[in-house]
Amino acid sequence: MKYWLLLVSAWLVVTSATAQDVYTCKNARLSFFSSAPMEDIEAKTDKGASALNKKTKEVFFKVAISSFDFKKKLMQEHFNENYLESDKYPFAEFKGKINEDVDLSKDGTFPVTVTGTLNIHGVDKVYTAKGTLTTQGNTITVNSTFNVRVADHHIKVPTLVVKNIAEVVAVTVNAIYTPYSNK
């Protein structure tokens, strides 16, 4: 019996210690922009979920593909139905880590790079993205823009609309984190 009490308490210590370093954001804003000869396409969502561990510098993003909002609803339908296939692959996820050795316990603005795996359309690809990270008191703000090559994630663009959809899409991320609490 004593064994288990000790084990459980040890586990709890670990859990609570790390939980303090975890910051989350449940309304991360993500948008992407495609500029092609025929038209510009832009979509955005404010329903991204993200977490950041101050100590281990790990970053996690998750967003529902169907939450992206387009100007043209028909385009939004096609985006979900034909290109991203959001029924099969409902989420885009990013798991990464901040490369720089920055002390996030201090206030300040840090230019950082994050390296990690981005999963879109069920296809993993490793990215290194530049961004800025600002810590101020109990909030952390992250801004980043990076490019995603549509073909890298096996998203097929038919030749008929090749002039409407860019090969490389610029993704912008904006998240404001607060300390994680279970409530």
């Binding site: 040890a10 670990v14 790990e58 998750k62 100007k71």
Partner: protein, 314 residues
């Protein structure tokens, strides 16, 4: 002491598990609530009749439908180039989404039954949409229209196109639509329908019920095979009477291909019915597939987003 390694092991396991997984686990429940099933059909029409799809808010749909003449039989063959020299019915429509589930429209069609020169006002409301978790198993919509004929009245007072009053020019359809997307590739729809025609010829029916069934089998992401069938409940007396006059009614059956090309949805259809509107093709189809009296036709839908910038900025 045996317990020390055990604690160390636990600490190590705890840290490792906590590291990346914990960040992921925080959002395990993200977005698992009743996602709506999209794209049961690509268009608001299947072949002739309505689907459970509606336009989105502030979308304008410009539709053109065309049905050619008989491909075979007496009026078909090479002399009319399989019907393409003739057109039995043409419909041009503007339809508009008031909300994501409510649409209205106006149309003008040639008409191919007793009445010609048809002006239509329509409304469709989808009040249930199927969800991926089967919390809502089907999509349900109701459709209604009112059609008035602009043609000159016949002089024969017994003719169906003799208009004693304006009301004689009117026909109506009320319809319930129940759809289910069974799998990515298969959608099926049932359409119980009621057609009311204010004026009909002797022994024809002012009120007629019909049951429609339709389906789509997707062949690829942008191509689907369509089929649509209506069974009108015409009374035996009525059938027999018209048979004695040499007129036989057939049940409308259509098959088609649904092709999506960016902003357009294009359907190539083959139907035995000559008319495009439910008000006519359900009660007044007298042409048969087996006698070569089927025709090819097409539906084109072009959707425009109005107020897109304004809505999107919000």
């Amino acid at each position: 002491m045996k317990i020390i390694p055990a604690i160390l092991l636990c600490l190590a396991a705890g840290t490792a598990a906590q590291a990346q997984n914990s960040l992921e686990k925080l959002f395990d429940s993200t977005g698992t609530t009743h996602t709506r099933v999209r794209d049961t059909y690509k268009s608001t029409r299947i072949i002739q009749g309505q689907s459970t799809e509606t336009l989105r808010k502030h979308e304008l749909d410009f539709r053109v439908a065309h049905r050619f003449g008989d491909a075979g039989g007496e009026f078909g063959g090479t002399k009319t180039f399989f019907g393409t020299d003739n057109s039995t019915d043409i419909r041009i429509a503007f339809e508009y989404g008031i909300s994501d589930n409510l649409m209205v429209g106006i149309s003008r069609s040639k008409g191919a039954g007793n009445l010609r020169q048809l002006y239509e006002g329509l409304v469709k409301y989808r009040f249930l949409q199927q969800t991926t978790d089967n919390y809502v198993p089907v999509s349900v919509a109701v459709f209604g229209n009112m059609v008035i004929s602009g043609m000159p009245s016949a002089t024969d007072k017994t003719a169906p196109d003799y208009f004693g009053t304006t009301a004689d020019r009117m026909t109506y359809v009320a319809q319930a639509l129940v759809s289910r997307k069974f799998a990515e590739r298969l959608s099926l729809t049932l359409m119980p329908t009621y057609v009311h025609r204010n004026r009909v010829s002797y022994m024809d029916m002012n009120n007629m019920f019909a049951l429609g069934a339709a389906g789509r089998l997707k062949l690829s992401k942008r191509l689907g095979l369509l089929a649509e069938y209506y069974y009108p409940f015409r009374t035996t007396e009525s059938k027999d009477y018209f048979k004695s006059l040499g007129t036989k009614f057939y049940n409308p059956l259509g098959v088609g291909l649904e092709i999506e090309t960016g902003g357009h949805v294009f359907s190539i259809t083959f139907t035995n019915s000559t008319a495009i509107l439910e008000n006519q093709f359900i009660p007044e189809t007298t042409t048969s597939w087996l006698q070569g009296q089927f025709r090819w036709g097409f539906n084109i839908s072009r959707r425009f987003t109005l107020f897109g910038k304004k809505d999107w900025k919000k």
